[in-house]
Symmetry: C2
Subunit: 397 residues, 2 copies
Amino acid sequence: MLNENEKVIADKIRQLKQTSGSHSPSIYSLISEIEGFEIAIDACFLSNPYATDLFMRYFKEEVLNQNKLRGLLEFYPTQNRPLAAILSSTLGVDPECIFLGNGATEIIQTILHRFTKKKLLVTLPTFSPYYEFARSDTEVIFYTLDKRNDFKFDPDAWLKIVKKEKCDTVVLINPNNPDGGYLSQKELRTLLGALKEVDQVILDESFLHFSSEDSSCKLISNLPLLKEFPNLITIKSMSKDFGIAGIRAGYAIMPKEKVKELLKNGFLWNVSGLAEYFFRLYSTKQFREEYEQIRIKHLQGTQDFFKQLNAIKGINVYPSQANFFLIELPGVSSSEVALELLIRHGIYTRACDDKKGLEGSFIRIASRTPQENMKIAHCLSQVVSSHAKDPLFSTPM
Amino acid sequence: MLNENEKVIADKIRQLKQTSGSHSPSIYSLISEIEGFEIAIDACFLSNPYATDLFMRYFKEEVLNQNKLRGLLEFYPTQNRPLAAILSSTLGVDPECIFLGNGATEIIQTILHRFTKKKLLVTLPTFSPYYEFARSDTEVIFYTLDKRNDFKFDPDAWLKIVKKEKCDTVVLINPNNPDGGYLSQKELRTLLGALKEVDQVILDESFLHFSSEDSSCKLISNLPLLKEFPNLITIKSMSKDFGIAGIRAGYAIMPKEKVKELLKNGFLWNVSGLAEYFFRLYSTKQFREEYEQIRIKHLQGTQDFFKQLNAIKGINVYPSQANFFLIELPGVSSSEVALELLIRHGIYTRACDDKKGLEGSFIRIASRTPQENMKIAHCLSQVVSSHAKDPLFSTPM
């Protein structure tokens, strides 16, 4: 339980949370607004920590040590179109089909505003911008994953809604956030085959680098699907798999007429100097080869983390094909557990009280390094068992 | 004149220019696409070089030396709304009236898309996004500054167009780009008083820190006008006066209902970790006091540069209240002069051939440090006089 001092901090965190809407307050906000506050493990942010290490190593060697930082900060960055040309061979896609964004969120926002018309189908629970940023004249239809069915996506039930509502835009996040549910390439192909009447199918692949369809852990690519289905748009955040959310980098692949329509309306210098450096680095074979090793390392560490979490008594951990786990805490308040993990142990997790479509007490925990994962599992076990004993902090079963 | 080797480089630059639309290719593009190419002086980018020095000093002390860089690049930045709260006391404005942008261009784009309705009035020549990014159902009306009248803005003629066309949005860039023309606070107040029927008056103050209404060089503020006229929106790029275009930072001040409308539609993490650091730095008194000194230093250096340029024979330098000068090169091709300055002398300037509303041969040159300005004036004088003698490279008078 929190003591008096800790309760003061908890109140401050709740206030910061209020200014952050349906998202978590930033690390920077937390540590700069709360004196002496420190975060030891960020298990709220869904990133591969080894990838941040890798990026920082290159950044130090190629930018800081070469005195190139000033140039990246001082001068106008390269425009969207020539940057797409640089990424083209890396992605194996015509440059005219690539649109670069100031993070994936900018891309989601603009697709919903420019291309979606009357009806948008979104799965719940999900990443909230997919419905929060819909146009006021767009009706958002929800397909809700069922807890009783382990949040499993039901293609037939979902397709029935698409047809019945005549949705012009449908969103598939694969793996899904916050549950990590996954549709295989085979399942996706079948689904897409039944979606030919839909204007655009948005496939958000921001967590795809954390998935594996077999023990080889081979990188899965939606490229064959993009070639086959002209109504498909893939959106990819670079924040998670490359661990660089502060840089704001993402891209989408879509038909060239759509890219043209977007660039006619702006997005001139929406990619910063640092994001440009990242995309140029990503377009080198050497970086990608090194990245591939640490991608697999993180994927395997995440699989081990599942086993550790699954061994904790009194919680339900849902299977995930992403690098995070949705955890149900029956009889315990998730926001209290999250606050105690944060204030007492310095572990930042995501209480899911405000996640639309998620009824009950859930937290989402990201996989970090093996040492950090061990500490997270240990502290979570401790906090949950102490809360479970205290009727004051319990929620009804 | 260019020799054979130099002509090869000139062709490569022309190709890069083609991919950049109505803007200049980035420095990064130029140096990474053309082997061995170096830029000694960037007089294309309209920034205060001392401000970049100042920012870099703080960045080194507070970020690099304190091992805080990784945090800025790795984690999600703070959202728009809490960042506005941090800027509020610095700007002296209610946080609900502040909207932060991924550079001013993002703000221009979104205002034109969300608030402008049928008719938009833009002055020519100007910063092209103001008409390029207008909605397809918005009619852009142009008011063209007259070269024969030294590009002077005529309030009566302009107001006549506003009334006749019933424009719902009008744009005033003060000082204007590319000519540096300036409307005093008194002139602006009179104009705004006659614009009460207009839905929104966009006042772009991105170059205002380079202006002075008297010898005191005191910082001019549009805040009193914002308090007086509820249809006024000010837009401010931080790229120029703070010399940090690569970071992408800008803000707008507008009625709170408008900010609310924008945030309802996105712009969640549109300010990167580095831009957040800049805004936090800008909100400290110490930084602003040091900035004020170098702002005045650059302003005075720019006034000296005008005298040097004005002394060059065969060119017309237009008076400017910004940190750049529009220069007419009668009888000489501006693109040839710009290419020769760049390839032979490493001086990057802006040939204005593609500037809509600017007929004739013009280049725009930014003021840099006194040493650099001296070199620019010297090389320009040399190039212009050599071109003037060669009929092959001349344009008709």
